[in-house]
Symmetry: C2
Subunit: 258 residues, 2 copies
DNA sequence: CAAAAAGTTCCATTAAATGGAACTTAAGTT
DNA sequence: AACTTAAGTTCCATTTAATGGAACTTTTTG
């Protein structure tokens, strides 16, 4: 096994709630001999992938990773386009907007636009959430055929709350609904009291697929407002789909029911 | 030599002008046997550090790097604070603002705020420029004692243009001026027709140091506007320095001459 | 100051990285 | 379509690095 896999595992330890790691953290998180953890962190620092925080024993990602990460952000022009749409819709509606991508069964936020409303929803960039239990995830999963989803979730899944899909039947039903309507939604699922509406769009040339999402306090969003979000996101995504000639794009159904 | 060093070298190949690399690119850029380049890229992809663009042979940074890079951005709260100042000044003045950090003799842009003016200056995030030949770089170098700078540039340096410091004497003179005034400036140096004003601030706890910079078309900036930029940046940086108790912070000199 | 926790170094063993060459695949040329 | 060249991959023996247990050092805590 290459040390690169271990290094990537280290990077996966970082999140909005874990800005740095220590040798002991790695031992616990990755179940690794501490001799190994010690050397791995030092080697990653020597390579320039990590840096030590001040002169403490804490390690955090380096500016090199930030730089390379920015390249990802800007190279995937699909993300840029989608981000522009979400920025516009977020500014219009006042709620928080996100762009997310899928990695296997995880969804990762790539960009965010905080809303103006007092009760604004903030999920952090770079955090992973379960794809099947979020509107962004289901918007992206809905682009796949059911058998591919079954393969993806060969190990099954554990619903994080009572409102998340409890099994395959429920997941497929929700995906079918998303496909029929052209958007996915969630309420009270990953985070209590929070609703979200998402659409997905892809670029067949680069293979990228992103979800555009507007998130809001569930109690605060009227039916009219939800309809406005759906229309704006759907139209924006449709414009992108037209540019990329996305063959899997699911346009909004003409009758926006529910 | 660990493969991590090679992997880090690969990441350093990416920039705003090189969004993806191929086996041949690596052979040329890193002077590496192509058998090696081929396996390295594949291994990095398998580890999740890179991803292939569509089904081509091109590799680009993955979302994992973007995620870890975001952690860097937000973990270094100094960057956040400095970014807020630059965002405000950029919005006030209308010119482009940057936050940059130093890595050895290089300066790397971390965040940017495009200006409103028609002639706006855009340098890309994540690109490396020479520290000695930029206002951001000299603002940061001015925080070091001269002998440390001499050690840093033990191998000498090559001026990129006639307006950049041509040797140590000139560099030290400019750094002395920056220390005396509390800000660094450049004009026509890295980019023709572009001027910039920078101040630096650090956090002794984390060891972070950043430069706050406003960049503008040289012909477009009046003396009054420059003075306004200097005052705004200087005051913003001073507030941050007060919070972090930065012992090396150089406040604006009371008489803003030149 | 003692005890515990955290981190580093050492060592033999195991596994991965290396680079040259042969091979395969893709792209351009007549 | 066959030819030529460029680009990428796989194979191999050799060299080098990674591994994990234990001993050791440093730092933190009561």
């Amino acid at each position: 096994m290459s040390i690169l896999l271990a290094a990537a595992d280290v990077l996966r330890c970082f999140s909005s709630t874990r800005h740095d790691v220590t040798v002991t953290d790695l031992v616990a998180l990755l179940d690794m001999p501490k001799s190994n953890a010690s050397r791995l962190l030092r080697t990653m620092r020597d390579a320039g992938l990590l840096e030590t925080v001040g002169d403490s024993k804490r390690y955090r990602p380096s500016v090199l990773l930030h730089q390379a990460g920015q390249v990802y952000r800007f190279s995937a022009s699909l993300i840029d386009r989608a981000d522009a749409v979400v920025a516009r819709v977020s500014a219009e509606i006042g709620h928080t907007g996100y762009i997310s991508v899928r990695q296997g069964t995880d969804i990762i936020g790539v960009t965010a636009h905080p809303g103006r409303h007092a009760l604004r929803v903030v999920t952090a960039i770079g955090d992973r959430i379960a794809a099947f239990a979020s509107s962004t995830g289901r918007a992206l999963l809905a682009r796949l055929p059911d058998d591919e989803i079954r393969r993806l979730y060969a190990g099954g899944f554990t619903p994080p709350s009572a409102t998340a899909p409890q099994g395959f039947d429920e997941l497929f039903a929700r995906l079918a609904a998303a496909r029929a309507r052209g958007y996915a939604e969630s309420e009270d699922e990953a985070v209590r009291g929070v609703g979200a509406i998402s659409v997905a769009v892809g670029d067949p040339v680069s293979g990228d697929e992103v979800a555009l999402c507007i998130s809001f306090p569930a109690a605060m969003a009227s039916a009219a407002e939800r309809a406005a979000i759906i229309t704006s996101l759907g139209q924006g995504a449709a414009e992108i789909a037209a540019i990329t000639k996305d063959p899997r794009f699911i346009p909004l159904s003409s009758s926006i029911a529910e």
